[in-house]
Structures are given as structure tokens and as C-alpha cells.
């Protein structure tokens, strides 16, 4: 039994056809119908919509809004649960530091993450009016589950098991400026802040039924 792969071929076949769907025709159908004729374009699109948002002009006295760029790479042949570790490593780092660290991470997904961050950095300078490529930090870095191909394998005593070949999507958002000192909310507090918190707690106490 050979697995008939027609769907990937539709993509190749479309290259032979130079006749393209006319712009007027696409206005009749909704995107759901169109997606049926492009089965391979199941790449996530919502994250990249953030790149299209145009903010209103700022007045000169306002603090300048930091630039950001959203980028992704879809269907990387790597497990999303393993990729999560690499995504977590990079969060809150400057792009240079992130790329430097990823060069020495001994995991298959690190290569794709590094390439995605480099692409995002180039996009930021080219299209989003970022002045210095090094002045960027990783604001968001997360993973999503992608295409899953199922196979089977035989176990002892004629038992069968399912083999899943996972793909993942990697999303990254780079922001202009210096990274914050602590990326996560629950970071260890400074001694003076701890003291103030303790004092507040102590002063909040009340003797019940007192005046």
C-alpha cells in the first residue's frame, strides 16, 4: 500500500499553471472556501497580522513608541514540547545575545530558532524603520503545534503502536530598545522592596473588634 500524496502535489502543480485566480473572482468567496483549494496553506496567519497595524502619529511631547516586528517559521520538523525549552531560553534577551547563545545550544530546533530571529532582525531594519539592528530584544517567543504525520509500528506479540511525527511553529516578536531587567512578573525582589512589602504587611494587621 503506497501512501498517495496528492495534497503536496497540488502545490507543485499550481506552479505549472500560470493562470491565477482573478482578483475579482476572489471577492465572491470567503476565505474558508478559498482555503479548500489551497490545502497546504495551513500556516498560522493571525500572528503576522500584528505587523500590519499602523499606529496614529505621536505628538512631539509623547514618549516615542518602541518599534516591534512579529515573525514566525511554520512547520519545523521538531517536537513542540522540546522546542519550548529553546523558546524559553531566548525570552528577554537582546537579539545578539540570543543568537550567540543559540549557537551553542545542542538541540535540533536551535538552528531554526536562530535563523528565525536573524530573519526577524533583518525585517525590522528593512521594513519597520528600526535604526540599529542590535537595539532589539526578544519580547515574545513561543511555540505552537504544527502538522502531525501519523505512522504505525509493531510491538511484541503483534501489538501495534502509533508513531507521531510532530512539526512545530515558532513565533518571535522583537521589540526595539533595552530589555527589561526582569522578564517575568514573579522575579525575586530587591532587599529594599522586600522590606517595604514586609512593613506594609505588618501595618495592615488589625486587632479584631478594636477601635
Amino acid at each position: 500500500m503506497t501512501l498517495f500524496r496528492t495534497r503536496p502535489l497540488l502545490k507543485l502543480v499550481s506552479q505549472y499553471q500560470s493562470a491565477v485566480v482573478l482578483p475579482a473572482a476572489t471577492k465572491i468567496h470567503t476565505s474558508a472556501f478559498l482555503q479548500a483549494w489551497k490545502p497546504e496553506d495551513h500556516e498560522p496567519q493571525k500572528f503576522l497580522e500584528y505587523n500590519k497595524k499602523i499606529y496614529p502619529p505621536q505628538s512631539p511631547d509623547e514618549a516615542p513608541r518602541p518599534a516591534f516586528v512579529c515573525h514566525q517559521r511554520s512547520n519545523i520538523k521538531y517536537s513542540p514540547w522540546k522546542m519550548w525549552y529553546i523558546a524559553c531560553l531566548v525570552r528577554g534577551m537582546t537579539v545578539d545575545e540570543a543568537i550567540k547563545q543559540l549557537k551553542f545550544v545542542l538541540m535540533k530546533g536551535a538552528k531554526d530558532v536562530r535563523e528565525t530571529i536573524e530573519e526577524a532582525r533583518d525585517l525590522a531594519v528593512k521594513e519597520h524603520n528600526v535604526e540599529f539592528a542590535s537595539n532589539l530584544w526578544v519580547a515574545e517567543s513561543f511555540v505552537g503545534k504544527g502538522h502531525v504525520v501519523k505512522g504505525i509500528r509493531r510491538h511484541g506479540r503483534a501489538r501495534f503502536g502509533r508513531v507521531e511525527y510532530f512539526h512545530c511553529h515558532y513565533f518571535v516578536r522583537l521589540e526595539e530598545g533595552k530589555p527589561p531587567k526582569h522578564y517575568y512578573q514573579h522575579h525575586p525582589k530587591e532587599p529594599h522592596q522586600q522590606l517595604e512589602d514586609w512593613l506594609q504587611q505588618m501595618r495592615k494587621r488589625k486587632i479584631t473588634n478594636s477601635i
Binding site: F4, L9, S74, N75, G151
Partner: protein, 326 residues
Amino acid sequence: MALRIANLLGPRLLNEPLVALTVSRSHDQFVRHRHTKHWNPKWKTLRRQKVMRVKLPNFQEKPEDLSEEEIRSRLKEQGILPPRPWNEKPFFLSCTGGIFEAYVPPEGDGKISPIQVQGAKQKLQYLEKKSRTMMAIRKIKSFEEEFDTATFCKEAEDIYVKMHDLMAKRDLENMTDYVTERAYPEVIHNIENKTIHWKLIKNIELPRVVHARCTDVITKENIFGQTTVRFHTQQMLAVYDRFGRLMHGSEIIAKDVLEYVVFERHLANLYGKWRVHGKIIPDWLPPKEPSLITYLKPAEETSTTETAVTKTSPDTEQEIPKESNT
């Protein structure tokens, strides 16, 4: 065993200092040990046959990168015939591909005041000796009876202003009514990811037609007319990037702009309209205002290293009005 090692090392033992034969612990972390290998390779083939081999699609490759032979071999593998290309889509030429016989603006134009002798001479010379321009205008009049350069200048100004207003509003649907298909991609590229505030304050000099030409495309009757109109205006331009930060120009400072805008009309078409087709940017105009941010100069072909950061402006964008000092 010590004797065997000594024999292997040979006479070198006598010459070089004795090297430590124990492995230092600090190198352990750079050596990786695989845990996916069974200790008994005898059953390897059978173990391999237990798992069904699945061919995974390569999502990182794009159909554009594949060569024709590659596609052909893949279709053959699956036993599918290549689809028949239906190239019967009709297309309509609504504009020419460029500016034919472009106007060459005289140097020093816009710098001499019309009150002086030289300026007055220039003014007279505008449409006098331009025989080909006059012939072209006559040809345009044969299609459009009420064509008059004076009224056309006013229309041209209206189209010019409307085009810039649509650019500021990012109205792409109505853009093709005022801009030809040849200029359209340049206009779109200039408004991409930006907010533009533009205003025409006044005309320093009235717009005037300086050049006109007609050509035919494919057939002798299919005639397109192009006219170049000289605009000397005072404009306000402020360009903000995607995040609302000022990228170019200013909201309060007005600039004097000298431009030569080419308009085109499909004369053979009854419903043809005069639309902006392009701009002529002479070399002698003063350079554009430098950009507010620094950028890396693109590496030249001869040298591989990138040159230092410079504060000069990038390549001129066609449709954004240039500022000139007059």
C-alpha cells in the same frame, strides 16, 4: 601493559616530556553519548522493520525554488500528468511601460526669477521652439477637441492634488483613477506601513505644460499621449512610520518643490483619463533632506565589507515630493 605503551610511544619517550595518559575530566561535557543505540546489534534489521517508514513532506521548500526537472520527476513518481496550462487570460493595455522621449529640464530652472531678463526669455522659450511638442498637442486635440493647455494645467493640478490625498488616506481602490498602472507599484511602495500628512499650500508659479509626446502601441491607431507639466509649489509633508514616529519632513515647515510630472492618457480609448504616469527627476536638483535615522550603506559589488554608517538619505522615492531650496 606499561611495557606495551612504552613500545608504542617508542623513542619519543626519551626526547619529549612524559604526557599524562589519563583523560582530564573537564572535557567530558563536550563529548556526547548517544542513548538510542541498543547494546546488541544482532537484531537491528528486525527492529528496523517494526517501524513503518513514512516520507515526511518538506515544508521549508517552496515550489518556486524547484527546477522543472524536479517537478517533473515528482509528478512522475505519483503518476500524475502535468496540468495543461491555460494561457487564455485576456489583458488590456491601459498604459505604456515608461516615459518615452523624456523631457530634459534645463539646468537652473526655478532659480531665476521671471522678472529678470533671463527669466523672461526662459518663459517665452517654453512652448515656442518645441515643434514636436506642438505636433503632439495637435494630435491630442484631434482626439480631444476641447483640449487646451491652460485648462489642462488646472486639471493636472487637480489630479496631482487628488493623488496625494488618496496616498495620505491610503485609498487603493480609487487610486487607479488618478495613477497609471506603471506608477501604481511605486506609489504603493511609498505608502506601505506609513502615515502621510500632505498639503499643497500654494502655487509659487502656475503649472505649465512643458512637453508632450504621442506614441502608438502595437497598432498604429492605438495611441497614448504623454504630457509633462512643471509644478513649482509650496508643500507641507510629514511622513510617520508604522509606530507614529516622524520619519521625514515636518508638520510646520513648508518647502518649495519644483517637479516635472508626466501625465498619460489612452487617447484611442473613449473613456481614457489623464493620470499621473511618472516623474522626471533631473540630476541638478539639490539633494533630498537626509533621513532622521542612520542606516548602513549597501555594500558595493567590488568590496565585500560594508562601509561605515553614513547620514545621507537613501535612494529617492519617486512620488514623495522632494524639497528644493529656492
